[in-house]
């Protein structure tokens, strides 16, 4: 029987304990704002005029109790505790110098704002949950249509609904299965070359043969000349085209490698 506990990992047991306490805590309150709202309700306090000293005291008592029960306390509760103490101390300060310009905001204002917002959303959430929910209160047609209805009309052009993110995701899937060293190196240059390669192949398909000058046309900027030249080199390397020159310094004429 004992042997079952031989490989018992004490660290792990502590983890479990912590997670368990986390669970209990969540069951009681969903965070410090929830706890504060509970205290406000319990004491029948006006949320716009919170007696900070009283609430802080009760809040800290609660934290003590949670600790006494040996429950793990999420950091947010401690942050709220220090906020409360800070507000309390500010409330105790003498009023600001009367000659001082500008309004001094009530130290509680920000907290009240937060509490009201939280309270509002709690109410909205419960209202949202009371709506007629699909698969709980309302149901849609679940049966599939007879097969002949599902077949679309053949002659119509198919629409495709995809985004570039779908494409990237797909590419990720592929790449993630490859070795690191095999990672496809794609950069802007390669891609812009692709455009020009496609363009050249299109023209070749139409014209059967082309000269370098044909390709340059009127757009004779340096960048384009270099790119077209690189594209031609790539095409020759890929064995997609053949290039012929009638004489040294003569016209370079290119043909598709395969008709």
């Amino acid at each position: 029987m004992l042997s079952r506990y031989d490989d018992f990992d004490p660290d792990q047991s502590m983890d479990n304990e912590q997670n368990l306490s986390y669970a209990i805590k969540l069951d009681i309150f969903e965070g410090p704002l929830d706890l504060l709202l509970y205290l406000i309700k319990k004491n029948e306090i006006d949320i716009y005029n919170i007696p900070v000293a009283l609430i802080t005291e009760q809040y800290l008592q609660y934290l003590k109790m949670i600790k006494a029960l040996n429950l793990d306390l999420a950091g947010e509760y401690l942050v709220m505790a220090s906020t409360l103490i800070h507000i309390k101390s500010r409330m105790l300060l003498p009023p600001p110098d009367e000659t001082e310009e500008g309004e001094e905001e009530d130290p509680r204002a920000e907290l009240v704002r937060q509490l009201l917002e939280h309270k509002t959303f709690k109410e909205i959430a419960s209202e949202l949950g009371n709506r007629p929910l699909l698969e709980r209160d309302v149901f849609v047609r679940a049966a599939s249509l007879p097969e002949e209805m599902e077949q679309p009309m053949p002659e119509s052009e198919e629409l495709i609904e995809v985004s570039v993110f779908d494409l990237i995701e797909a590419f990720h899937r592929v790449v993630s299965q490859l070795d690191k060293k095999e990672l496809l190196e794609i950069d802007l240059e390669k891609l812009s070359l692709t455009d020009i390669i496609n363009d050249i192949m299109d023209q070749l398909a139409a014209m059967k043969s082309l000269t370098f000058e044909d390709l340059l046309k009127e757009k004779k900027d340096r960048r384009r000349i270099i790119y077209i030249f690189l594209a031609l080199l790539e095409l020759v390397k890929l064995r997609m085209i053949k290039a012929y020159q009638t004489s040294v310094f003569g016209v370079i004429r290119i043909f598709p490698a395969v008709e």
């Binding site: 410090p32 716009y48 947010e76 001094e104 905001e105 009240v112 309302v138």
Partner: protein, 193 residues
């Protein structure tokens, strides 16, 4: 006319998702948009007056036949499906996203006062919430919003159809006014002392 009505009824019935009037128009390019809407409205009220088990409802920007919500418990008896059960945490997180979208995680957390990673993942998995983009601030936090499925599940025509959307806005204004009041009171107290 009666024929078109029957066809539109069939189209809405056959569609797997709520059918937008524009999609119906794609089938009838010759029929006016207004006429299609009128026919749909007729169908909606016919089913409503009939008080049967099926209703034609506007959901997520389209029209769909759905069972009458009052009969839900009976249908559930037959289907024994798992409804979209959301924990209170997930529901509150969803409510915040729905009403405040587009919104980043830290903003949700400042309202809820706790970490929302768990519920957020849950909502993403259920496809009720989606990543809308990234905010152009340091850290490029992810921006969240609700999905079409959210509208379908919660029986909403569109986001403005959310209950109390207007009330909530008013409440926010009231809060701001109150805050001002509080400030003023404080000053008066100060003066009185």
């Amino acid at each position: 006319m009666e024929k078109i009505k029957a066809i539109i009824e069939a189209l809405i019935f056959a569609s797997d998702t709520p059918l937008a009037p524009e999609k119906i128009r794609a089938v009838f390019p010759d029929v006016e948009k207004k006429e299609i809407q009128e026919i749909i409205d007729q169908l909606v009220s016919e089913y409503h007056e009939r008080q049967g088990g099926i209703l034609l409802q506007e959901v997520a920007g389209g029209f769909q036949f759905r069972t009458n919500a009052e009969l839900g418990k009976w249908v559930k008896k037959l289907k024994s499906t798992k409804p979209h059960n959301l924990s209170p945490q997930a529901m509150e997180t969803l409510a915040i996203i729905a009403y405040r979208q587009p919104i980043v995680k830290s903003e949700i957390e400042s309202i809820r006062g706790v970490d929302v990673g768990g519920p957020l993942k849950n909502l993403l998995e259920k496809k009720l919430v989606r990543i809308v983009g990234r905010k152009d601030v340091p850290g490029k936090p992810i921006i969240y919003g609700t999905t079409k499925k959210f509208l379908e599940v919660f029986n909403l025509k569109n986001i403005m159809d959310l209950p109390n959307m207007r009330e909530l806005k008013e409440l926010n204004q009231q809060q701001e006014l109150l805050m001002q009041d509080m400030d003023e009171e404080k000053i008066q107290e100060d003066v009185a002392e």
